[in-house]
């Protein structure tokens, strides 16, 4: 079954991806002009053999799926072929894989045994004759119910008209900005009065969490209050500017983007295989927010960074990494039918692109016209043509479980994954030898499985062995692919490249790959375009798509982004469904404000930081969340923002906050990701399955046995020694008590910010998962906030929380000697305020109580843990 020549071609890492065979189109004249004797020959000699020996595994009627992506059911299907390439090239035996396969060269078909020589000879004759085959599906044409008139009318929908700068109403003395005036005029209309301003202490905590995701340091609150009393405006502006300039800003806001961009570091789905280079995209996003990269450029780079001019190699690399946006979606690697796989991949790209940037859901139109918006099915296939003409590079190595590997892009810089090490040519040769050996073993193990072996190894064990061999081969191949011929580590990323020859897509009836209808010219979503797209014939059109989305005139692009920004600053969005600005979505609660922000955003050169600055300096941002019966009754959902929303902080903020309070937060960005070590491995809840570790350059150690996950230490960073086990590692006594709860390997020992924790789709680290982390297989504009007993159990019993409580207790004892002072410092560290008298008393009572049964240090730790567990720690007013 293995063809090593092709195997290598598919799994090799290449600098420039080349085109796979696309969906070919065949002139109908060919059938008509075919020699009638040729057709007769096909009917007499070829068709019966195909049906008897191939149809079972290579047609949709066979019941066994379409293995290898190859269907033999039509002329077109044979010529398109499967994942290895065209099965039949008329007149060319050497290019026809079917010919190789029936001669058992490379492929071995049928698997049960070679066909008789005379049958093989018939195939030779048939292919040489030009492979005449009358089985041409009649071309269907799907007529859309969405008329051009309906599309034209659809452009009048509020969201599909470009935003205009609204007239700014006069404000009263309350308003301090245009934003305030636009809100205030609505307060009046709704009979609302704005809440009072929040206290400086509350405001400072809010600013810190919203802008950086970290609490203010002790003392900052007092300093801010003092500055506020001197000159509120200046105090506010200088604090905002300071926070916006911190690297922690990008870590906070980059994460919001990663939620929408369904960022993750593995394929998810049935077989969760790692993406060891996804972290480059994560860092790109963080850096983009920190550098205040103009949003239009940010869009262009993510959709078409590979096609943009790049004056330097560094910039080119950055742009290539940005296209990881399109490559890191969830993938079903076990899919046998490569055409289905490609169709699903393109579908995911269309879905994420249209929802994240445009706030419309075009993927609904894969199977039929959009139900609510005037988006005909052909619009979907117009976009599909663009993405079908794009090669998506997400890596992976072909194995029994990974049937859909792809390439990676070699970057023009020297910055390999920190875990990829160089090796000598001899070592490389040795690895290749080992790999070949293991592959051979795996094949033999597989064959042996089918042979009954009375009294031999139990089949389960043999199955497991064979699985591990397959994994081992995968890991060896990954290691081999990680270096060049000289053994130097390659610097690679996930991303996209244009295929050599762009092709329009064919509309698929009900979205079924075996039901092609008419060809659809590549293009954009009509209802969102004022003119018809004209795309170049010699490129995919992805660059033009990016330009169209990032254009200042686009009706939804700026609105969608300012709505996201408003949501993360104010706690609720102006359009409550952030990814659905279509007819089925909610109206904006204040369209004038939305449009004002959108126009300002574009006018500022798409500066995210400028927009954030303007909003947080507005009075509305300073409002108190205090409860007022009347205000509540008037606007229970707080659609009009006359008060502040109380917000449950995200999982990352909760974890980072504990590390900050315990004083153990490592503020620096680690290089790479834990997942970078698990190249192409299948990821289970406790880490990679059958992981091969790489100690130095000495080669490979044996595959680990299941149940003993690989050792994890901090990954190294240039210029910084890797940490040893003494400091940041959890003490082993606690590790050993980790009671169940998968995911521990992914986080137990690390102290950096949570955005750098690995994100395997099916095994999200527990500290994130338990507090409603964004589902990494979906576009998430706004996270859920739930209150679950699992969260309570995590806060009460998890090793991580106990460890941070211990560390914070040590800190309290180090910094303060008096019990009362320790309690006050604890409140300041955890809540950024001093305790009220009842709280102080309750705290001292608890400590006294606890000390009756445990030592003072343990009592203090239990006290710190209680503060972490309390509602106030998770909520920002």
């Amino acid at each position: 079954m293995f063809d090593f020549r092709r195997f290598m071609m598919h799994t090799g890492v290449i600098a420039l991806c080349f085109s796979l065979a696309g969906v070919g189109l065949f002139a109908d004249e060919e059938a008509a002009s075919a020699n009638p004797e040729g057709i007769q020959f096909f009917e007499a000699k070829i068709r019966p053999v195909l049906m008897e020996h191939c149809a079972r595994c290579h047609s949709t009627d066979g019941g066994q799926g379409v293995r290898g992506g190859l269907s033999i059911s039509s002329r077109e299907a044979l010529r398109v072929g499967g994942e290895s390439g065209p099965a039949v090239v008329p007149g060319d035996l050497s290019q026809s894989l079917l010919w190789d396969a029936i001669n058992h060269e490379g492929l071995r078909m049928p698997p049960s045994g070679k066909l008789p020589p005379e049958t093989i000879n018939d195939f030779r004759r048939w292919i040489e004759l030009g492979a005449p085959d009358p089985r041409v599906p009649t071309e269907a044409v799907v007529q859309s119910r969405v008329t051009p008139e309906a599309i034209a009318a659809g452009r009048h929908f509020w969201a599909f008209q470009p935003p205009q700068m609204p007239a700014l109403p006069e404000g009263s003395g309350w308003s301090e900005s245009a934003i305030d005036r636009l809100l205030e005029s609505q307060f009046a209309a709704e009979g609302l009065t704005p809440a009072v301003d929040a206290s400086p202490t509350v405001l400072l905590r809010r600013l810190h969490f919203v802008l950086t995701g970290l609490p203010p340091a002790p003392g900052e609150s007092d300093a801010f209050t003092a500055a506020w009393s001197r000159d509120p405006r200046r105090a506010l502006e200088s604090t905002v500017d300071r926070l916006l300039a911190l690297p922690q800003f990008g870590e906070r806001w980059g994460r919001h983007w990663l939620d929408a961009a369904r960022y993750a570091e593995s394929t998810g789905k049935e077989i969760d295989v790692s993406f060891p280079n996804a972290w480059r995209y994560r860092d790109y996003v963080i850096d983009a927010f920190n550098a205040d990269k103009p949003y239009d450029i940010f869009i262009r780079e993510q959709l078409a960074g590979d096609l943009l001019p790049a004056p330097t190699d560094e910039q080119w690399a950055e742009q290539l990494i940005a296209t990881g946006f399109l490559a890191l979606g969830p993938r079903s690697l076990i899919e046998q039918n490569s055409r289905q796989f490609q169709a699903d991949l393109v579908d995911e790209q269309i879905d994420v692109t249209t929802r994240v940037f445009l706030g419309v859901s075009v993927a609904c139109a894969r199977c039929h016209d959009h139900k609510f918006d005037p988006i005909p099915q052909s619009d979907y296939y117009a976009l599909a043509g663009i993405f079908q003409s794009t090669e998506t590079c997400f890596g992976g190595v072909r194995s029994q479980r990974n049937r859909q590997p792809s390439k990676l892009i070699v970057l023009p810089i020297d910055d390999p994954n920190p875990s990829d090490q160089s090796m000598t040519r001899e070592e490389l040769a040795e690895l290749r030898r080992q790999r070949d050996e293991v592959q051979q073993e795996a094949i033999e193990a597989r064959r042996a499985l089918a042979r009954p072996q009375p009294g031999g190894t139990p089949p389960q064990t043999r199955l497991a062995n064979q699985f591990l061999l397959d994994q081992r081969a995968t890991q060896l191949t990954t290691r081999i692919n990680s270096v060049d011929e000289q053994g130097r580590p390659l610097t690679v990323c996930m991303g996209v490249q244009d295929k050599a020859k762009p092709q329009n897509a064919r509309l698929l009836i009900r979205g079924e790959i075996d039901q092609p209808a008419q060809e659809v010219p590549r293009g954009f979503v009509q209802v969102l375009s004022s003119a018809n797209a004209v795309l170049p014939a010699n490129s995919s059109g992805r660059l033009e798509l990016a330009d169209w989305i990032a254009s200042p005139e686009h009706p939804t692009t700026a609105r969608v982004m300012v709505n996201r920004i408003w949501l993360h600053l104010l706690g609720e969005a102006l359009v409550r469904e952030t990814d659905n600005f279509g007819a089925s979505g909610p109206q904006p609660s204040n369209q004038a404000l939305l449009d004002y922000l959108a126009v300002r955003f574009v006018d500022s050169g798409w500066s995210v930081k400028s927009l954030i600055r303007e909003i947080v300096l507005s009075r509305v941002f300073r409002l108190s969340s205090e409860f007022d019966q009347k205000r509540f009754e008037r606007d229970p959902e707080n659609q009009y923002f006359a008060r502040a929303n109380v917000r449950r902080m995200e999982a990352e903020v909760i974890r980072d906050g504990m590390l900050a309070a315990s004083g153990r937060l490592d503020p620096e960005r680690p290089r790479g990701s834990i997942m970078a070590r698990f190249s192409s491995s299948i990821i289970g809840p406790d880490g990679p399955v059958g992981m091969v570790m790489t100690p130095g350059t000495a080669g490979m150690t044996a595959a680990q046995t299941p149940g003993r996950p690989g050792v994890l230490d901090r990954f190294s960073r240039p210029g910084r020694p890797a940490m040893d086990g003494a400091g940041p590692m959890l003490p082993s006594r606690l590790q050993s008590r980790l009671n169940g709860g998968g995911g521990s390997i992914f986080e137990a020992s690390v102290l950096y910010r949570s955005i750098y924790l690995p994100v395997p789709r099916n095994s999200v680290p527990r500290s994130l998962d338990v507090f409603d982390f964004a589902e990494p297989s979906m576009v998430i504009g706004q996270r859920e906030t739930s209150n679950t007993p699992a969260q309570a159990l995590y806060m009460l019993n998890s090793a991580f929380v106990i460890e941070q409580s211990d560390a914070m207790a040590e800190r309290l004892q180090r910094e303060q000697k008096q019990r009362r002072d320790q309690v006050e410092l604890a409140f300041e560290l955890v809540f950024s305020r001093l305790p009220e008298s009842e709280e102080l008393e309750a705290s001292l009572r608890f400590l006294e109580d606890a000390e009756r049964s445990v030592k003072p240090a343990a009592a203090l730790s239990a006290f710190c843990q209680a503060l972490f567990a309390s509602a106030e720690f998770r909520y920002v007013n």
């Binding site: 707080n638 099916n762 859920e784």
Partner: protein, 466 residues
Amino acid sequence: MTLPVCCGSRREMLRSVSAGFGSLALAGLMAGSLPAGAAADQPLAPKPTHFPPRARRVIFLCMQGGPSHVDTFDYKPKLIEDAGRSIRPGNARLMAPRWEFKQRGQSGLWISDLFPEVAAHADKLCLLRSMHCDQPVHPQAMTQMHTGSAQFVRPSLGAWTLYGLGTENDSLPGFVALNPPAAAAQNFGSAFLPAIYQGSRVGAAQRGPAMARPAAAQGQSVPDIRNPRLSQDLQRRQIDFIQTLNRQKLKREQSQPGVEGVIESFELAFRMQDALPSLMDLSGETDSTLELYGINGGRTAAFGRQCLLARRFVEAGVRFVELNHGNWDHHFRLEADLAARSEEVDRPIAGLLADLDQRGLLKDTLVMWGGEFGRTPDAQGGDGRDHNNRGYTMWMAGGGVRGGFSYGATDDYGGVAVENKCHIHDWHATILHLLGLDHTRLTYRYAGRDFRLTDVYGNVVQEIIS
């Protein structure tokens, strides 16, 4: 949207306060698509059904790998008669079942000797002999069976059930997945439904896909269920202190929707710490009960323990329990391995049915058995059968289904469902129906659309309802 504005109590306020799920659930409520009472503040509270339910809880016995229906529950005399022939071009030779089929019980259902003990309960069983799904490979078929869609990440059957009905025990999770395979998170996940509806995994999650782990690894644990350090007494004092802080916050700020939720979550967690381990402690069960489930040793012990746990969970008010049993993928060594797998589950399942019945639980507990697909009537390599998603058997018992009844049929050989076909969407629709939920009205709004477990498909199989 108009809202019922009423501020008499915090709880009523919570319903109106927008907070992610709250506003969405409320939107659903307004549209009449959600059972009343699905408020944001108590998403797990028992909820009224759309119509009177026949079943109040579900135990799903999930056989991973695709158990052969033609050797177990789908009797095909013609397959025996024509064994050795090839029925379709390209197909291998038909292979007769290796086990004898007999008519069982008053109803005379045909069941093979692989399941002698389950067969003794034939009059309780409702065989669905015309199942089919769209996916010929394991993980995708497994995902479709659990979520309705192999293509997209969608909420699981258990999550939809919990979302629709809430739970009846405030000390336990409402959806429990016992011994779940790893890398199948989405089969127990809540996808876009709030996280609180996802399955709680009980039992050590095992590394890697089924291939990579031993057959019967059994562990039973819940993450963070025990504090490694504090005594129960001290932890209670600690929780009291946490609640003091929480109440102070409530007092200061009057309205804090989340804070009440936090307070309740700690109380539930504290109860769970007690309830869950003791519920999972089987030491108090009598010898005759252990014997009934086959727990006293041998090949039945592992699955027997799971079945007994399932009974204890549903008895305690857990809404949906899924049990997993692996390695039913018999491409080869069918004769030995299928017999071994069947033996491992036969007595435990029979014990479960008997025990539920004697406790009066079976009448409103829906027990479901089956795998992601069945197997081909023709042989694969002499002693095996290949995957077959186009026709297979699942069965139900209790929970308002007709006992001793067989619904639908495959062709003469068991290859393709031909009569009264039951797609996996129909299966889902029927399960929800038995639970008192209309599958077309149990919706959740996400990304601008109302989603259903059955998407735009699904027909309730009325004939199987007693």
